[in-house]
């Protein structure tokens, strides 16, 4: 029974061993030349400006409301649209209520200035 798994075990051990071996080889043989560019947060990207723990505008929650109103809605709309013929009136009215609640979110965002980007 255990013999059947022997190739698998050998492969696991070998794979692990090779990975550890190469890690140590790189540590041992590799050259280590630190330059300013290599030490930055994004080696070949932008220079970071300021700290990542800054406060950001609370308007961010408006983006979240937009996401739910325009994006999550679709997740429910597609399966509903495919099945609405078979599910009948109950499904229709359920979706109407759901859409009304979403519209409430839309109007809330509109009135709170969520679409005015400055």
């Amino acid at each position: 029974m255990i013999e059947e798994y022997l190739p698998l075990i050998i492969m696991l051990v070998l794979g692990f061993g090779v990975a550890v071996l190469f890690l140590y080889l790189a540590e041992w043989l590799g050259a280590r030349r630190t330059t300013h560019g290599k030490q930055t947060t994004y080696e070949s990207g932008m220079e970071p400006l300021g700290t990542a723990r800054d406060r950001f505008s609370i308007k961010f929650y408006m983006v979240a409301v937009s996401f739910i109103v325009f994006d999550i809605e679709v997740v429910f709309m597609y399966p509903w649209a495919v099945q609405v013929g078979e599910l009948g009136l109950v499904a229709f009215w359920t979706m109407t209520v759901f859409m009304l609640i979403l519209f409430a979110g839309y109007f809330y965002e509109l009135k709170k200035g969520g679409f005015e980007w400055d």
Partner: protein
């Protein structure tokens, strides 16, 4: 079908109201009074609808329990559900009225507060109406997520934000326990419908390790939500850090909602009246299972009251003292679950009503006197209150006497009901522990009263900013006295529910 719509009226109204308040908030711009009066009027409407559904004959309820209903048996109407609707809506009105002057003074009145309170109430009412595990979970989550936001409502205050973060991290962890417990119970019984679970457990065939693990996880999750030992550690910090009016709301209505969930789950998972057709050895299995689980709840309850009351003695801050006493009261209320009979559940209904009135009243008095988060909250600050504010000192003393359970106030009949129900079901030792911890609690309740009445204040007297909080305090005082003198009407009402 039409009949069900009438029964579901309070629930439908509160959900429509919660969306409508957001709309009113968005469309009225800088005008704050409209949202304030609209939420109060809406909650009054919910109360009227709930009173109406409570008067409807309950005979029809059994007929529409399952198929042929819109909710497919996931909701229950009338009876205790309608009563708790009223309780939560009253708590909401009391909180909103008291919150207006408090928030204006401490932080600024934001209309979102009113919609958040109403969202929380809609969650609680969902719990009260639940007859399915999933409905309970949805209700608890609506309520908890709103509470996390409400706890951190004053976002410029470090204590408030700390309270919100602590509550959120621990609360979501506890929700995980609750959900895992429900999954385990589903795995054992194959259904989430509480009546079906109850029927299957009574047959004795599915009492196995999975059901036991599931029940244990459910007890952990619910103990957290009612702040019972050993899952009470979040309560003092959260209750102290949150805005005082919010603390009053979530330590009463929130606790009552979690207890309803506890009642509903305990009633169906721990059957006490077995069918006559049961074979004997199966009966023994079910009986053992019920007794073990009840013993665990009894131990949690006993430890909760002792720890809550003993720790409260050491507190110097009134808000923190009330937070620990709230932990202790969770212990008293859980005695009703231990009793697991109609008297016990009626005791929970009565005591959570009385507790709501006295605790909201006490927190509102603290909120009226405190300034800038932590100022004037010490017990020593309250000395000489009799001279500077005789009215506030008198009502605070009344709430303290009621919390301690001294006869003419509502706390006494509530405790009496719970204690007798526990003796009835054979847990006399738990009642003795409860009496002892009640005596311990006298120390700090009466201590505050002594401080207010018999000590002189050095330095300036406290400034009270009461305004519309008068209404909340007056309603609480009247309620506490009426329930204390004439408890029988509510007791009779509550006994019919279960």
């Amino acid at each position: 079908m039409m009949q069900e719509l009438i029964y579901a009226l309070p629930l439908t109204l509160i959900f429509i109201l919660s969306i409508a308040v957001i709309m009113v908030d968005a469309f009225t711009g800088k005008n704050k009074t409209v949202a304030y009066y609209f939420s109060i009027a809406g909650l009054l409407g919910v109360i009227i609808a709930a009173i109406y559904t409570m008067t409807l004959p309950s005979a029809d309820l059994a007929k529409m329990a399952y198929e042929g209903t819109i909710s497919k048996g996931m909701l229950t109407y009338g009876g205790y559900a309608a009563f708790f609707d009223i309780l939560f809506a009253v708590a909401g009105i009391l909180t909103i009225v008291a919150a207006k002057p408090y928030l204006t003074r401490e932080y600024g009145e934001y209309k979102e507060f009113y919609s958040l309170i109403i969202f929380a109430i809609s969650g609680m009412m969902t719990i009260a109406h639940a007859s399915n595990m999933v409905t309970i979970f949805i209700g608890i989550e609506i309520m908890s997520i709103t509470f996390y936001v409400l706890a951190g409502f004053i976002r410029t205050r470090i204590t408030s934000v700390e309270a919100a973060l602590k509550y959120f991290l621990l609360g979501s962890f506890a929700s995980g326990f609750l959900l895992y417990g429900m999954a385990m119970v589903y795995g054992a019984t194959g259904t989430l419908q509480l009546q079906e679970i109850s029927a299957k457990i009574a047959t004795g065939e599915i009492v196995n390790i999975y059901l036991q693990i599931g029940l244990a996880l459910l007890i952990i999750g619910l103990s957290f939500k009612v702040a019972a030992f050993p899952f009470h550690q979040w309560a003092p910090d959260v209750y102290t850090g949150s805005p005082t009016v919010v603390t009053g709301f979530m330590s009463t209505a929130g606790k009552a909602a979690a207890l309803v969930a506890f009642i509903v789950i305990a009633k169906s998972l721990l059957p006490t009246n077995f069918g006559a057709t049961l074979i004997n050895d199966k009966l023994i299995v079910v009986k053992e299972f019920t007794e073990n689980a009840t013993m665990i709840i009894a131990l949690i309850s006993a430890a909760t009251m002792l720890i809550g009351n003993i720790t409260a003695i050491a507190q110097k801050n009134v808000k923190r003292m009330l937070a620990y006493s709230s932990v202790a009261h969770a212990g008293y209320l859980m005695m009703g679950i231990v009793a697991n009979n109609e008297n016990g559940f009626a005791g929970i209904v009565f005591y959570s009503t009385a507790y709501m009135l006295m605790q909201i009243g006490a927190f509102v008095v603290v909120g009226v006197l405190e300034r800038d988060d932590t100022k004037f909250q010490q017990i020593s600050d309250y000395s000489g209150l009799r001279k500077s504010h005789p009215y506030l000192a008198a009502v605070m003393a009344l709430f303290m006497f009621s919390l301690a359970g001294i006869p003419p106030m509502a706390g006494f009949p509530g405790k009496y009901l719970l204690f007798t129900a526990t003796i009835q079901s054979g847990y006399t030792w738990l009642t003795i522990v409860a009496v002892v911890s009640s005596i311990i609690s006298m120390w700090f309740y009466i201590g505050l009263v002594l401080n207010m009445y018999f000590k002189e204040k050095e330095g300036d007297a406290l400034v009270a900013d009461v305004k519309s909080s008068h209404f909340t305090i007056a309603v609480s005082v009247i309620g506490v006295i009426i329930l204390g003198i004439l408890p029988s009407f509510l007791i009779d009402l509550a006994k019919n529910f279960f």
